[in-house]
């Protein structure tokens, strides 16, 4: 844990000191002119904070969902929340409202509203089923449905809107300002403390202790956890686009490092690791050795997918 924090600090300083503006390592601590001050305060620090926050939130939400569905290959994208957000953003962009007041606000609002609609839809349908697997399947179906609608919208839209939407879909950590960062941080803090308080119950849920004899409590716990994972994912996706694979990969990586599944250690570990990896991915995507940059989604996928494949192989073959 201590090591992880150290890694975060190291990555953070690197992230702050590398970039096309050519601010030196020393200047990070004492910027010498207004220009570097501006770059640091208005671009790099928010970007760093966003990366930390988004990594932490998505990993957290992924862990919560993996517990709910008792499946290590589940992540924030499976419930159709990201797809709902995509649909919202697609609608706003294609309708030409996205440049309203030249800000991200219409997109963000649309993404949040549509993710919430998906979540509510999911619950109204899934409430009729007994098992979690049905909720998962319904979530994926809703996700395909939203995807289909997005395809239709893409088909009829013009080039500019298409480009804007595609860029949003690639994900980025440079879209949040300080106010938004504070809002999402508070949200994560609340969500985290609620879940952390229920850590013992989540452990009991994993060993089947709530089945049959305490169905009411079990349902309440699952409902609470899905809502929390859903809302946090919705906010993050709204601001930064659907960031791929962090949410699935990080909890697995943490389980692999810690070699235990107790939520008491897994929850804080996952959040910190998620933050560290997100900053690392952002560093790579910025490609400090050149003047251009990669979409962050490409980097998180390149990072996340090998981990997931490794997880699948490990759970099939290795005996210990």
């Amino acid at each position: 844990m201590f090591l992880l924090l150290l890694v975060i600090i190291l990555f953070s300083i690197l992230e702050l000191s590398l970039g096309s503006a050519g601010i030196s390592f020393v200047e990070v601590f004492s910027p010498k002119d207004d220009y570097s001050k501006f770059v640091l305060h208005e671009i790099r620090i928010p970007r760093l904070l966003t990366a930390l926050l988004i990594g932490a939130t998505l990993s957290f939400s992924g862990l919560v969902l993996q517990t709910v569905f008792r499946n290590p290959l589940v992540g924030p994208s499976v419930l159709g929340i990201s797809s709902g957000a995509s649909l919202g953003v697609a609608l706003v962009t294609m309708a030409g409202w996205s440049s309203f007041a030249n800000s991200e606000i219409p997109k963000v609002i649309a993404a949040i509203v549509f993710s919430m609609v998906v979540l509510l839809l999911l619950f109204s349908i899934a409430g009729r089923f007994r098992d979690n697997a049905s909720v998962l399947i319904v979530g994926m179906l809703i996700s395909y449905l939203a995807g289909a609608m997005v395809d239709i919208l893409i088909f009829v839209s013009d080039n500019d809107a298409l480009k804007e939407f595609t860029l949003w879909g690639m994900g980025s950590f440079s879209r949040m300002n300080y106010g938004e960062i504070v809002i999402v941080s508070v949200l994560l803090l609340i969500a985290y403390s609620i879940v952390y308080k229920n850590r013992h119950l989540m452990n009991l849920y994993l060993i089947g202790e709530l089945d049959e004899v305490n169905e009411k409590k079990k349902k309440r716990l699952i409902f609470l956890l899905i809502i929390i994972a859903g809302v946090t994912t919705a906010f993050v996706t709204a601001f930064c686009g659907p960031i791929a694979f962090l949410g699935i990969a990080i909890p697995n990586l943490m389980r692999f490092i810690l070699k235990i599944s107790d939520h008491k250690y897994l929850l804080p570990g996952t959040v910190v690791l998620g933050a560290a990896v997100a900053v690392m991915c952002d560093l790579l995507s910025a490609m400090p050795w050149s003047n251009s940059s990669l979409p962050v989604n490409a980097v998180t996928s390149l990072f996340g997918i090998p981990i997931i494949v490794f997880m699948i192989f490990k759970s099939r073959h290795k005996t210990l």
Binding site: R70, H200, N203, L204, L206, I207, N214, K217, S261, D262
Partner: protein
């Protein structure tokens, strides 16, 4: 002096009560064997005690208190149940399953460790503590589940088919464990099983659910003899 008793109780489901009203009294340290065909209501009785299925009629009393007046958590401190099949997250390691089962609100971390050691020793599961659950054999899983149940330290233990998957020597071990828990620690234990030899070895009293009738029998050997004869006639 009875610790657990039922007055005029009927259990089952709203649409389908499973038994006629009956009374019972169980003393602490007694082992009750439950006989009955598949679907006769043995598991439903356990669920009723756990509070998972509401009691249809009558009242259950534990230590002079009506069970329905107890909160869920109080109730789960008194009763613990091992279902015949349990859905356990398969990646969990054996020692995690044990520590998760401990009532963490009452015990300190160190006490949990001491208690875990005792139970590991009692159930003889030292060898596979570090293994994930899904790599265990069915019999080993059963032993781990019983060990996890004992972690709760409840006064009444409900065992649903505990001898299934266990080989002869493990069954004998389990009989010893059950005797130890009931006679030395004064736990009340209910066992439902189709393994008549196993029941004969542990039970002090026998209940038989046949049709909607529950008959309580103090003489275990006799009850089991009658029950097996009846089954043979049936065939």
């Amino acid at each position: 002096m009875s610790i657990l008793s039922g007055q005029n109780i009927v259990f089952g489901y709203e649409t389908k009560p499973l038994v006629n009203a009956f009374d019972f009294e169980v003393e602490p340290g007694k082992v009750v064997g439950l006989l009955g065909l598949n679907g006769s209501g043995k598991t439903t009785f356990f669920k009723t005690l756990m509070g998972g299925v509401p009691l249809l009629k009558g009242s259950l009393t534990w230590n002079g208190k009506n069970i329905n007046d107890l909160s869920f958590s109080e109730r789960h401190k008194i009763f613990s149940w091992l279902p015949a099949r349990k859905l356990i997250e398969e990646r969990l390691k054996v020692f995690e399953i044990l520590t998760f089962s401990a009532p963490s609100d009452v015990l300190q971390q160190e006490e949990i460790l001491i208690q875990t050691d005792e139970i590991i020793h009692l159930m003889r599961i030292e060898e596979f503590l570090e293994l994930p659950y899904h790599l265990l054999s069915e019999g080993q899983k059963k032993k781990v589940e019983i060990a996890a149940l004992l972690m709760k330290k409840s006064s009444v233990i409900l065992l649903d088919e505990p001898s299934v998957f266990l080989d002869i020597s493990n069954q004998a071990d389990l009989v010893t464990v059950i005797k130890k828990l009931s006679k030395e620690q004064g736990k009340t234990i209910f066992i439902s099983s189709h393994n008549l030899d196993f029941l004969k070895a542990c039970a002090d009293v026998c209940w038989e659910i046949s049709g909607t009738k529950v008959s309580l029998n103090q003489n275990v050997d006799q009850a089991i003899y009658k029950y097996s004869n009846k089954l043979n006639d049936h065939c």
